[in-house]
Symmetry: C2
Subunit: 457 residues, 2 copies
Amino acid sequence: MSLTNASPEQAARSAKISSRTLATLPTDARNVALDAIHNALAAAREDILAANARDMEFAKKASAGGELSASILKRLDLSRKGKFDDMLQGIKDVRALEDPVGRVDLRTELDDGLILHRQTCPIGVLLIIFEARPEVIANIASLAIKSANAAILKGGKESTESFKAISTVISNALESTEVPNDSIQLVTTRDAIDPLLELSQYIDLVIPRGSNELVKHCQRKAHMPVMGHADGLCSIYIHSDADMVMAVNVVVDSKTDYPAACNAVETLLVHEDVLDTVLPAVALALVAKGVTLRCDQPTKSALSKHIAQDQAAMLQTATETDYTTEFLDLTLAVRTIPVDSQHPYSAVDAAIDHINTNGSHHTDAIITASKEAADRFCNGVDSACKFWNCSTRFCDGMRFGFGTEVGISTNKVHARGPVGLEGLMIHEYRLAGNGQGAAMYGGSGGRQYTHKKLPFA
Amino acid sequence: MSLTNASPEQAARSAKISSRTLATLPTDARNVALDAIHNALAAAREDILAANARDMEFAKKASAGGELSASILKRLDLSRKGKFDDMLQGIKDVRALEDPVGRVDLRTELDDGLILHRQTCPIGVLLIIFEARPEVIANIASLAIKSANAAILKGGKESTESFKAISTVISNALESTEVPNDSIQLVTTRDAIDPLLELSQYIDLVIPRGSNELVKHCQRKAHMPVMGHADGLCSIYIHSDADMVMAVNVVVDSKTDYPAACNAVETLLVHEDVLDTVLPAVALALVAKGVTLRCDQPTKSALSKHIAQDQAAMLQTATETDYTTEFLDLTLAVRTIPVDSQHPYSAVDAAIDHINTNGSHHTDAIITASKEAADRFCNGVDSACKFWNCSTRFCDGMRFGFGTEVGISTNKVHARGPVGLEGLMIHEYRLAGNGQGAAMYGGSGGRQYTHKKLPFA
C-alpha cells in the first residue's frame, strides 16, 4: 500500500498497472500477503492507537465546537473495547474465505479440439470511498487483495492520522510479499474524489460506503459503474391473515434492532381488516420501545383508543413525505391498505404499488399465513430482497452466509442485494483450439458446431 | 408494442409500469406472445415489404446524392433473399431458448425454518438504440419478451417506414396476449436519445447496437449502465514456436473472414525469431487475400524480400497510430516483439504489454505450441476473450453456443464478452421465515446461524 501524494491520475494509473500483476498471483501469494498485514498491524498496535488518539483529540475539539457529531466521534475511536481485535480478526476471516478467482462456471466443446471455458477473474481497479471509521481501511485492503483487485482508498479526513499509520504498516508488510505495493493506494489529497470519478480508463468500479449524499454524489459524477445504494427505505406489509405475535416480533425487530441501519423498516402498510386487531398489538409494542408512529387517518383513528394518554405524543398524523422518508431513527410511517372486495388480491397489489412507487428497491417484507399472497407479493415487488414472515434486518452479507459484506446494492446490473466477494469478480472467456478458423463452419459442406456441455472439473 | 408519439419520459414511465407485469408472467404467456408476433409478421409480409420499399426509395435518393453509404442501403433492404425468413426464424429460435427467468442459483438455510434463496429475474427496462437494419426490431422485441424485460427501442431514421409497419403488426399481435402492450415501445421522436439517457429512474440498462460513435455517445451521456463495446481492436501474437500452417490459417481467417466485424484482427505481433520463417508465410497469404500490411521496420525489412514487385504497394510503413486503429477493412498493423534473452517469457510479456496498452480489451489470441506461454498470455491479457491457436472471429454468442447474442461487452461488471439472454437478467433474494428477528441471533445465549447449503431443486 502506498500512502500517495501522487495526483489522482498517477495513483489510478499505477493501480491499473499493478492490478495486472495482482490478477496473475496464485491464491497462496495473496493469502501470504494477508497474513503479513495481519501480523504487522498486530505488532504496531500501540503506534496506530497513538495516531488514532491524535485524530480523536482533533475530533473532540470539533465535536465540542458542534462541527462534528457524537456518532462520528464514536465511530472514529479505535481504542474502544474489542475494536482493534475485531479489525485483526476481520483480516483472518477474509483470508479464510474460498478463493473467488479462477472459478470455472461454463465449459463447452464448440467442436472437436475447440474448447471454450468461462472463469471468474478480478474486476481490476476499485475506487472505495468511505467515511470516518479507521478500521475500514484494513477490511477493504483485505477484500481487495483476496479478490485480486487493486484498490484506491479515499477515507474521511477525520481519520487522517489513523489512516496514515495503518497504511504505512500495510505498505511495509506488503514489501516482503509478491503483492505489488501500488495495488492498494491511499489517497489523502483533499478534493481528490471528483477527479478520480472521471478516470474510467483506469478505475473499473466505484464503491461508496457512507452517507446517502456521498453515494448520490458518486452516482451523479462517476464515469464508471457505481455499486451500492443511496436509500434504504424498507417497508413491511401486514396482510389480513397475519399472525399477531409474528407481526409484533417481525415489525419490532425490523424497526428497533438497529434503527440507523439501511435495512431497518421505515414504512408499515396494514390491511384494513386488521386495523383493530393486529395493528394495535404491533403499535403498542413499538410505542413501548420508544417508536413514534406517523399514521394516516384510518390507522390513527384505530390506534387512538389503544394508546395511553401519556403516550399520545407518539401517535402523530403522517404527511405524504413521511412515506418517502428514510427516518434512520425510532420513527415509523404507517398507512392503511384498502380492499376492493371485487378482487381477491387487491390489497396485496395495492401494497406492491405503494412499495414500488415509494420504496428504494432495497428490502421489503410481507407478513401473511398465505403462500399465495407471499408469492404474489414477492413476484410483484421490484426490490433486491423480498422477505416473508421475517425481519428486514436479515438483509446482510454476514447473515446471508457470505462471510463478508462489500455492501448492499440496489443496482439492476452486476450485483444486487448483499454483496460478498463474488461482487468484486467478473468473468473472462478462454478458447483453445488447434488452428480453427470461423470460415470452416456453416454453409453447405462446412463443419457444424457441436456445442456440447462439458463438466467443469 | 406501441408506436409512441409520447414524450421520452411518458414512454419510459409506461415501460417501467409494464415491466412489473411482464416480470410476473409465466414462461408460457411469454412464449405465446412470441408465437403471436411470429405469425402476425408472417401474415403481414407484403405490407411490411411495401413499407420497406418506401424507405429504400428515400434511401436510394440519399445514396445517389452521396448522403448515405451503399452499405447502409444494403442493410436497410428487407427484400433481399432470405432476410424476411431469417427474421421470422430468429423469433422461433429465441422462443425455443430455455426460460432465463426464475432460475435458482443459491439456496441456504440460515436457521431452522429460515430459508434463503437467490433467483434470476429480469433487469426491468432496457433502452436499445440501433441503426438502420429494420429486422433488428423483431429480434430485440423477441429477446425482451423472452427475458421478461420491457424495452424502449430507438432505431435509425432511415428505417422509419419499416419500423412503423413492423411495430404496428407487433402491437396488434400483443393485444391478444398477456404481455402488456407498453412493454415494447418504439420511439420515433427525433432527438429522443439524449433525454432517454437521463431517465435512470425508469430505464435500467442501455444497449447501443451500432457505430463506435453511438456507443461512445451513450457511455458519455447515460445516467444508467451501458452494455457493449465501442472498439474491437483485436490482436494476435505469433510466438517463437508457432506452427506455420496454423499461424497462416488463424491469422488469415481472423483478418479476412469478415473484416468489418468487431472480432476481426487489427494488429499482428510477431516474435523476432520468426520474422524470416512464419511471418513471410502469413504475410504472403494475407497479401494474396488483398490485405495491406502496415509494418514496423524489422517486419517490413524481413518481408520486402518475399513480396513480389507488383505487390510492393501492399507493404507499407506503419505509424504509431496504426497500432491503435480499428481498420474494419483489409488492412493489418504488424509489429515485431523483441526478445530479452535474460528472461524466458520476455516476448510473451512484451506482447501482453502491447495489447493491454493499445488494445480494446475485446478478444486477443496467441499462436504457440507451448501451454506455458499460452497460459501466461491468457493470464496477463486484460481482455474479455483470450484465445489460443484459433481465430478471433469465434468471439460470438451464436458460436459460443448461447443461441443468441445480445451484444459483445467489454465492460468489467455484469456481463463481459459475448452476451446471451443471461446478460439481460439480474438476481433477487427471497427469505422465508416464521417470525424470526435479527436480535434473536448472536451474543451470549443467542441463536447461531446454521448457514447450511441446500440443493437448488
